[in-house]
Amino acid sequence: MLRYMLKRLASLVLSLAVASLIIFALIEVAPGDPASFMLGINAQPETLAALRAELGLDVPKVQRYLTWVGGMLTGDFGTSYTYRTPVAEMVADRIAVSLPLALYALILSILIAFPAGIFAASRRGRPGDLGVMGATQFGVALPNFWFAMMLVLVFAIQLRWFPAGGFAGWDKGLLAGLTSLTLPAIALALPQAAILTRVMRSALLDVLGEDFMRTARAKGLSARQTLWRHGLRNAMIPVLTIIGLQFSFLFAGTIIIEQVFYLPGLGRLIFQSISARDLIVVESVVMLVVFAVILINFLVDLAYAVVDPRLRSPK
């Protein structure tokens, strides 16, 4: 087990290192100099040089990369070119919206998909299964931002059950915060729930065909008991993989959904920064998202080992 964890951990560090290099290199090749962009075309050369020094743009690239990575590791994400405030502070405010939204959506997706997938698998080929599968075909095809617009139209504008947009803020209480995130979370979750339902169903059906399921029936377990006691845990491996992928998709997906609901999350920050060419913010936010994705994949790998004893023992 320890060996497996160390191996995954090494792979996590390596992935992070390579990803940071790619991001840094891409931002480096971006045309235009942030300092001249900030000061306009009529800037004096001396002011420009002073600003470049202040922003740390006058040192060699290798040193800049190391400063950037070192800063990230200690929680210092640099200073925004446009706002002149620490990026870490800006990100912290925004992530308090985006991360809860992604998690909310992920939980919704799991809460919908597990029962639906188990239901469909246990009624394979019967009307219940066909109904669920038909619904998932529709769900998978549903663009989340379009669905978000439709939700606003019905539940915010017509029925007035939820706010049409904006974020109440966590200081107004948990319920107020969750209420403003509910429609966005549903919009994000439903298409993902459709995918997860299909994966859950097919993973269960694969397991149902395994020899050990027949052994379990021969012991005297009913079909339902067999599914719960022996099927579910074996079906979890592909399901965990997809849950891992969904988190990264949902986290990135908040960027778009925030546009529909006017939520002050990472998405808004990143679009503002792109148009202001505030590349240090773009760089840090992208690195943060990539870090979250890699971390989740690491956790999924650990979850595999919990589920499957074959991964725990040294080979």
Binding site: S11, I27, Q137, V140, P143, F145, W146, L153, A252, V282
Partner: protein
């Protein structure tokens, strides 16, 4: 022959056919503005109504779908042309440095959510349809590399591959002659899925301004325009959305149907 396959094929053919028809004919010129006639609900003159500039929505959707399909198709081509050879090469020598490098590289690309990749590319090179294609194309590479490698690995253990090796054929030769045709089914199925996903990706990227740029119409661009007007005239948001759902569902059903239709032949060959 499954029902899924028939419905999927019919739906895809109809909608892709309409998109292609726009090359030669649309009900109205999709570029002609008619401001006094704006935001008309669906009716006899304009079957699906008009948008905020009085343009005919049906014509816009036909042309827009063509753009979206083009973006998805080009990204698919990038993914296939690089992903499949990489997957074949990785499977050829499972576990050696080449396989390790390719699979590690895949993991790294997978760590960048598609949207983040598009944002990064746009931040550097500016927004354009080309950059949307490149971003989704890069995303597709590891997808196809994995599918190809996953399909090829068990084949390398099969005795007919050993027989080909005993016949003195090189690994590359065997990959092309024996492995590729036998993973083709998987690639066709994954291809339709990625194609469908491409439609959604184009829509999402163009919606937030990272994809197709004005004045070129695309399904995502139409939705971006509709966002502020959806309360006034819901149909201008509903129509492109339904078009996306229709194409994506059609392609996904087609993929599922193909998987079922192509699988039994493999089964039969095996047992």
């Amino acid at each position: 022959m499954t029902r899924t396959l028939i419905i999927g094929a019919a739906l895809s053919t109809l909608l892709i056919g309409l998109a292609l028809l726009s090359l030669v004919w649309t009900p109205y010129d999709h570029t002609s503005l008619n401001i006094p006639n704006k935001l008309q609900p669906p009716g006899a003159a304009h079957l699906l109504g008009t948008d905020h500039l009085g343009r005919d929505i049906l014509s816009m959707v036909m042309v827009g779908a063509r753009t979206s399909l083009g973006v998805a198709l080009l990204a698919l081509a990038i993914g296939l042309s690089l992903g499949v050879p990489l997957g074949l090469a990785a499977a050829m020598h499972k576990g050696n440095w080449l396989d390790e490098t390719i699979m590690r590289g895949n993991d790294i690309v997978f760590a960048f959510p598609l949207l983040v990749m598009a944002i990064l590319i746009t931040a550097v090179f500016g927004p354009s349809a080309t950059n949307a294609i490149v971003a989704f194309g890069i995303f597709n590479i590891p997808v196809f590399a994995r599918v190809t490698r996953g399909g090829a690995l068990p084949l390398w253990e099969r005795e007919f591959i050993l027989a080909a090796r005993v016949a003195g054929k090189s690994h590359a030769h065997i990959s092309i002659e024996h492995i590729l045709p036998n993973v083709l089914n998987l690639l066709i199925v994954q291809g339709t899925i990625q194609f469908a996903l491409g439609i959604q990706v184009e829509a999402a990227l163009s919606f937030v301004g990272l994809g197709v740029q004005p004045p070129t119409p695309s399904l995502g661009r139409m939705l971006a325009d509709a966002q502020t007007l959806v309360t006034l005239a819901p149909h201008i948001a509903i129509v492109p959305g339904v078009a996306i759902i229709g194409i994506v569902m059609g392609l996904n059903l087609l993929g599922d149907g193909l998987r079922d239709a192509l699988d039994p032949r493999l089964q039969k060959a095996r047992t």
